[in-house]
């Protein structure tokens, strides 16, 4: 490779701005919110499930923008790929048309409203006071940093995620897997009449 080409490549490598521009954020966030609204307004359960898939995928895109590729990949593979397929499977097996016409006997919306308002308040307070509350989580990025450098500084990379999971947070990780095991056992016991 000639030195001129080499230097040109290296300038491309170091000089490119990260792809994560505000436009991507606004597009993905808008898509997530719009399809999230569609999830709760669509009468048809399959349409709602499809809208939920769009929400989950755009949230995966947001994770990618936060330099957390592993979380984004897991979001796609577990939620959009696995769980939503099971959702659709169940929706198609159960006769939704009849049950959606029946009058709902549970009035949950005041509780749901209160819960979502509380969650919103939590998010807003974290957004406003987050810098003061968690100063050790602040990461100052140098002005000229590019994508690779930022990714290396954060812990979204797969190897770093693995190191944290198997090092610092082993106990929490194992407890979470125990919780999932209990849920699996519960599902088996509930569906099997005779074990």
């Amino acid at each position: 490779m000639s030195p001129a080409i080499n230097s040109a490549v290296s300038t491309i490598n170091s000089g490119m701005a990260p792809v994560a521009t505000p436009w991507f954020f606004y597009a993905l966030a808008g898509l997530a919110v719009a399809s999230g609204v569609a999830v709760i307004t669509r009468r048809n359960a399959v349409h709602a499930a499809l809208a939920l898939i769009v929400t989950l995928l755009s949230v995966a895109g947001l994770y990618l923008m936060l330099y957390a590729p592993f979380v984004a990949g897991v979001q796609i593979i577990v939620y959009a790929g696995g769980i939503m397929v099971l959702f659709l499977f169940v929706i198609m097996l159960v006769n939704i048309e009849r049950s959606s016409k029946e009058r709902r006997f549970n009035r949950m919306w005041p509780v749901a409203l209160a819960a979502s308002c509380a969650l919103m308040a939590l998010f807003v307070s974290a957004f406003v006071k987050g810098r003061a509350l968690f100063p050790d989580r602040m990461i100052s990025l140098p002005e000229s940093s590019n994508t690779q450098q930022i990714a290396a500084m954060l812990y979204g990379e797969v190897s770093k995620t693995g190191q944290y999971r198997m090092g610092q947070y082993t106990f929490a990780f194992e407890i979470a897997s125990l919780l999932l095991l209990v849920a699996i056992l519960g599902a088996v016991i509930m569906t099997k009449k005779k074990i």
């Binding site: 491309i12 399959v46 593979i77 959009a80 659709l88 198609m92």
Partner: protein, 430 residues
């Protein structure tokens, strides 16, 4: 701007890594066209090979030996009336083929045709591929539901149950291959597709032969599960024509139906690429470490040209053996022109191989190197594509309970066992 465009030509990284949007777009375009052409070829080869397996001739009318048949089929499908059933869910019916197609083609972003011949090298490459290809089942499920008809719904339910089941065994087999990537000097594994091939290069072994027979078993699990994942025979219960007419795409016609076919074949190529990358050394030529002298490099770089030369020779023989009747004159000329085209490509490849044999990293040498990488990758994938046809011609379809039994009671325990033994052996070795 020209500098920005030109500067990539000598680069040794993928366009995604170099942050070069122009070349990324060019690569996307090349891959899209390449896959579309590959699907056309696959369509013809499948029909011809199946026919010969069953002692028939297969398509013979459109072009010499039916070579133009895929184009005629494509034209017919585009001109056909696009029927949407009256009771169908219009929007979902419309969007379902696109979901499948998008999922199948998005996967190609991370497939490494060479160390720099990929759109992008992601940190989570294989995870991304698995995740996005698992979205393909959504297209099938949604298509079956939106048709508002019994056969498609049953086909969709079958295929979703099947794909969710086989994904588990497939994922575990992949994990055992990923474990092997950490058996190198640095001791860190990787999920990046390019780094997985580099790990095989560093360890001087394809992962199919690593920890024999562990790698082989994991590969076999994957090779079975990938047939089930793509809904191909003998696991094609989702479109079992004897029971469900055509399964999930019964109600589809014309262009939409052809989108489903395109998605299916693109997904077949994609999963074959995963198998090649993980177990068969990706873009590497045979014995890159054992036979590494520059003379061997030159000999192996002749292979692409010789392959096309062989194809051209076969086509020429076919033209010469055409019956000497005036009815076959146009066909004979057409086949001769096709052979000449193949021969020209062969000549071009041989010229590049000769011009780029020096290791001075000139543009010709880099081009030669790139052709070699893509050639070996594609020929490994082609073996799998032929296997898909071979399976279809050989084995009868499974019953659904047999399918589930194999998935959950045979493949899953074996893949779990292989994963554990691989981990133990890996710890003992290092």
């Amino acid at each position: 701007m020209p500098n920005f465009i030109m500067s990539y030509l000598g680069s040794t990284v993928t366009p995604g890594e170099a942050g070069n949007q122009f070349w990324a777009l060019v690569y996307v375009f090349i891959i899209f066209v390449g896959v579309a052409v590959a699907v056309l070829c696959m369509n013809w080869i499948e029909r011809k090979a199946l026919a010969h397996f069953q002692i028939r001739l297969g398509p013979m009318r459109v072009g010499p030996h039916g070579l133009m048949q895929p184009f005629a089929d494509a034209l017919k499908l585009m001109l056909k009336e696009d029927i949407i059933p009256a009771e169908a869910d219009q929007f979902v019916f419309w969007i379902a083929p696109m979901i499948g197609l998008l999922a199948a083609f998005t996967v190609y972003t991370v497939i490494p045709f060479g160390p720099s011949q990929a759109v992008s090298d992601m940190n989570i490459g294989i995870l991304f591929m698995l995740g996005v290809s698992s979205l393909g089942v959504l297209g099938i499920v949604v298509a079956g539901w939106a048709s508002n008809s019994h056969y498609p719904l049953i086909g969709a339910l079958r295929s979703s149950a099947q794909m969710v089941s086989y994904e588990v065994a497939m994922g575990l087999a992949i994990v055992s291959a990923i474990l092997m990537t950490s058996m190198n000097a640095s001791g860190t594994g990787t999920l990046s597709m390019i780094e997985i091939v580099r790990a095989q290069q560093q360890q001087h072994v394809w992962f199919i032969f690593k920890f024999f027979p562990l790698g082989l078993i994991a590969f076999a699990i994957f090779a079975i599960a990938m047939v089930a994942e793509t809904n191909r025979a003998p696991f094609d219960l989702a479109e079992a024509e004897s029971e469900l007419t055509a399964g999930f795409h019964t109600e589809y016609s014309g262009l939409r139906w052809s989108l489903f076919m395109l998605a299916e074949y693109a997904a077949m190529i994609a999963v074959s690429s995963i198998a090649v990358t993980l177990w068969l050394g990706g873009w590497m030529r045979p014995f890159p470490n054992l036979l590494h002298a520059s003379a061997w490099d030159f000999i192996f770089s002749l292979f692409p040209g010789l392959t096309f030369g062989g194809l051209a020779a076969i086509a020429f023989i076919g033209a010469a053996r055409m019956p000497a009747h005036s009815f076959f004159r146009i066909q004979r000329i057409g086949l001769a022109v096709f052979a000449a085209l193949l021969g020209f490509i062969a000549l071009l490849l041989l010229v590049i191989a000769v011009a780029g044999r020096s290791a001075d990293m000139s543009l010709a040498a880099r081009f030669n190197e790139g052709i070699g990488y893509v050639f070996w990758f594609v020929s490994k994938v082609a073996v799998f594509m032929y296997l898909f046809i071979w399976y279809r011609a050989t084995w009868p379809r499974y019953r659904f309970d047999q399918l589930m039994k194999i998935g959950w009671k045979v493949m899953l325990p074996i893949s779990l066992g292989v994963l554990m033994v691989t981990a133990i052996v890996g710890v003992l070795v290092s």
